[in-house]
Homo-oligomer: 354 residues x 4
């Protein structure tokens, strides 16, 4: 369906995925009702299915990963509390300071390696009762971890954090925007990951290709509170089964194929690794995301991205000399070869022009 000339190879993010034909049909024919009254049968089915998939009592359809995370923070904390998060987690970096502005809680950030905050740092970040200090009310994890290039938190790491959280009676929320990439990458059922957290948010609109929406899942009483906070944020919609129908297809049919995106990402990483001037840790590519440095070239990332765009490849800069490529359903095997070729040509031309 992608024209040779006109359609770009869009590696900016897996959010750009468009709904499948099957999703469009499901949307067309969705049974709907007023979800604020709890009467949308499609949403009810999606929420039940989603809860089951991540092994939680209940689930809530939200309009975005950001909304799912913000609602989770609101439902877990009280104003004046503190939340422990990895320094470059999505909640801290890309959610417009919502946790401080809406929930009135303070992030306590810890520098992690591949998204993993050192366990001892988590323990020492947990506050004792002190009149000067906020109460530590929540630990957030992110799996896969976006800013480190889609790295998976190992199950044993999740388990260790969970033990700490049990010991200190502090709940864990998982920003699992790409939870299914983590599960597929590990070759496990997602429940093997989510059993180590109290609540989880995952996105339907990224690799899973639904047009919009995310899921927040957790204990029943938590989801009840979350439903009210979602209403405050304006996430209470009416015949939202229209959107939910695609979410059901996403969960039922789109999970297994994520493997393909991972294979593509790995292949792309290996292809780039052979190019002089590109610095990439191809072994660290675990899911559908690769990050590499072009500091060895005489070019910054804005310039490099411009060159890619001229040749029909879209990508995002994640630093002055750092580029991110994300694979997804609309990136085919042959696109990978093309992209490697295009990068080679850009670098070759750059050297000539010196």
């Amino acid at each position: 369906m992608k024209g040779v000339m006109q359609m770009p190879i869009d590696l900016r993010s897996d959010t750009v995925t468009t709904p499948t034909e099957k999703m469009r049909d499901a949307i067309r024919d969705a049974a709907v009702g007023d979800d604020v009254y709890g009467e949308d049968p499609t949403i009810n089915r999606l929420e039940a299915l989603a809860a089951e998939r991540v092994g939680k009592e209940a689930a809530l359809f939200v309009t975005s990963g950001t909304q799912g995370n913000q609602v989770a923070v609101l439902a877990h904390t009280q104003r004046g509390d503190e939340v422990i998060l990895e320094e470059n987690s999505h909640i801290v970096e890309y959610e417009v300071a919502g946790l401080s502005t809406i929930a009135g809680v303070q992030p306590r950030t810890i520098k992690g390696v591949n998204g993993q905050m050192p366990l001892s740092d988590i323990v020492s970040a947990i506050r004792e009762d002190d009149i000067h200090c906020p109460k530590t009310a929540l630990v957030c994890l992110e799996n896969t971890h976006g800013d480190s290039g889609g790295r998976i938190l190992p199950l044993c790491y999740m388990e260790e954090v969970y033990k700490i959280s049990r010991q200190h009676q502090i709940p864990i929320h998982l920003d699992g925007a790409r939870l299914f990439n983590a599960a597929v990458g590990l070759g496990v059922d997602p429940k093997e990951i989510t059993k180590y957290v109290n609540t989880v948010q995952f996105c339907l609109s990224k690799g899973l290709s639904a047009p919009m929406g995310s899921i927040l899942a957790g204990p029943k009483s938590f989801i009840e509170r979350a439903r009210k906070w979602r209403k405050m944020l304006g996430g209470g919609m009416r015949q939202s089964g229209i959107a939910g129908a695609a979410g059901i297809v996403a969960l039922e049919e789109m999970v297994a194929r994520l493997e393909e995106d991972h294979v593509h990402a790995k292949k792309l990483a290996e292809g780039l690794a052979d190019i002089e001037g590109i610095d990439i840790d191809a072994e660290g590519v675990e899911t559908n995301m690769i990050m590499f440095s072009i500091e060895g070239l005489e070019m910054d990332s804005d310039h490099f991205i411009e060159k890619l765009k001229e040749r029909g490849v879209l990508a995002n800069s994640v630093g002055r000399y750092r580029i991110r490529f994300v694979t997804h359903r609309e990136i085919a095997n042959e696109d990978i070869d093309k992209v490697v070729e295009i990068v080679k040509r850009i670098i070759a031309e750059a050297k000539v022009s010196l």
Copy 2:
């Protein structure tokens, strides 16, 4: 399409409207893109169309009326400010205290008549600069006004409030969840109403029958700020053209037919007015909503609503002895007769059983 026995006559709200076939087709075939990147062509078309319809520079698709109002308050005010609103306006009554919790602003409520705050009360509510007092940063109007039974704010009233707002340099935001009902009720272009306000929110999912979503419209710079606040609330979605496609149909095809809902509401009100024990101001029914008191009966509203439900009619209580009926696309002319008949029967039986 509504079965004689199984499908209830649902007068709870016009939010229960389901998408039309044409909407479903439009959704099925919608061109989509990633709206966070501003690349969803359907959303772009909807926002341009919506802005044009209410005579504003720009517009923003939001997931609900609540989100549109909350984003408007965020974009108009700073924390610590005060907002003037009618005492029973939707923002104060039914938006989960969002304006105080999210925006950190204080509502200053004024008791209105049919949604109209006395002009002199507005003027005296505007604060002078004083170290003890918040700054008055916004006036909110609601048209039609829900809690007074869908009453329309007269154009001359809108104009007078606008003059006050100009004189004191305080912007006006209109909660126009049912703006098009007001316009149709007045027989004017909606721009005749919105010209008296700086910004406006209207719903696509009520009388206009889209499955979800609302529009916030206003000056370009305001909408830019609003777009960021929407992101914070999690309202930034991806291929939301899926939802937007129905919104376009709603704006293009569903406005004129609101007249029919108003005719039905009037007829229903007149039918009820003839029943002993029902206290209703049938002349005050201006749009698609009627409210009446059953205080004359030996029954409270919960009981009355239960009796209606047994006979296939759904309605909401809006007070211990107060009932609300809302007409919409899925209420046919014959339903009106049925409802009057059913109410008569309930009352007759109640008297017998005494």
Copy 3:
């Protein structure tokens, strides 16, 4: 000590009272310690004394009435809650929107008569559990009620509100900035008032003449939470016994003499009532405050206040034609006669100049 010419008769507020000689001596010699560590013996003594005086388990020294009220709201509520208050209560009118900005709660205001919200309005303002609505978490009363001219809430009214609050399990906070004026006015022990509320704030720096500070009192667990919220607001001070020493004198020696201020206010009101052009309800003067209208004169309140000032009398405007006089320790009996005389002269001259 007040010079005939230079020192004005300051009727603006009882906040202008300066510390007595005894207070200054007590301050000079106060035993102090670090109150953040709980080691200031004078503060500890003041808090114990204050708790005892209002019949509560514990008390907290705060830097102002505003801080006491804000800390109370923080300790009683969670973000997203709603608080019921009289429309013109100090918390709503003169505390810079703090309850919305700091605590993130929404005021639900009810128009009162002499500070008394109609009981039925309180009952109907209490929300049922509803996904659209904030939870009603607190009722605030104000006694004496400033904006109605220092009116006392009758004990039977307090009792009725207390019954409602018990029935709905919603606590009551009393803004008793002038609690002792109410007690003296009623001729009862302050505990007869405070037994009808869960928590109370009263000021040391108004009629009681301490240089600064207020008290928040309530159950022990409440005061513990309040102490932490006070810290967040920056109200945790060090050797604050310096200020607390005056508070002890205020409580031990300055309460009984408030009677004198009330007698002065009554006399002043009666003197003004005889002047043509002054509209005053002298019977409604119950404590140390009087309010009157000059709408019958050809002068607005700014002008009137200017004229008073030229003659050495300071007062505050509380409306375009409304003036407030407050009596206190530094207003002597002969000042009352002078003020009546001065008002007469201003009005006479105004008439001549027409």
Copy 4:
């Protein structure tokens, strides 16, 4: 004045300082007025003096360092903004999450060395305009930096941060709770430090020995905004000249003597450095604070502090094996020798008991 047996050597903090006789006299005789009306002559004098001392246009008396910092954040930012701070700065660690809860802003923390955030980390923490991200609105510095043991930020470091802030048009607020210790330690006028920041907060109640209060200083328009935010926090007091009088003495007479506290701290550090089992960087002691590790002993800090207390020495734990000693006006030269002796004895006994 300190009895051999009864009065402990209190090294917990310089906040424990009590007012001098001269301060008590000044307080006793202070001219006062109502500061909410701007009429307290002592406060006005203190604020003018304080502004002059730190080279700023205007100043504001606040009740604590926490209040000064929180008011500064409120006056510099809008909700939804981000503030750059050192990871262990007082504002983040010990102000009860106020900046997130009250101001609704998100801290962006950077790990520093001796309180100095790496310049390149500051630069990369400054956000570009992006719909996902809060706006970087403020940089906060802390000098001396408490959590690193009272380290002084070098003037050249201050200058470099200032250059960055000018380049990016982002203001700097200095938490100078111990600003005068920094100035004395550097041997410069405090203005040499504060010329590199837009606004500064310093404490009167620590080394300077006033019983309570801090100063916030900055541009006139900033202080005007700050005054209103202070009112919201309940920091608007009445005859606060009572407290302010001591502040004037503090500024006029207590600055130079801080040198003595520094000499004591150095001597104490050197004494401890000779003790086996104590790990201390005596060279790093720059002002009135020392921190040392007892990890080499078979004792944790709670136990060590208990042992000190038994012998009449009070100290605080700042980690499982980390102790802090702070010198101040009430610590005499001979106390230093005693403390070294006591520590030696505790360690000796501990070894014996093994």
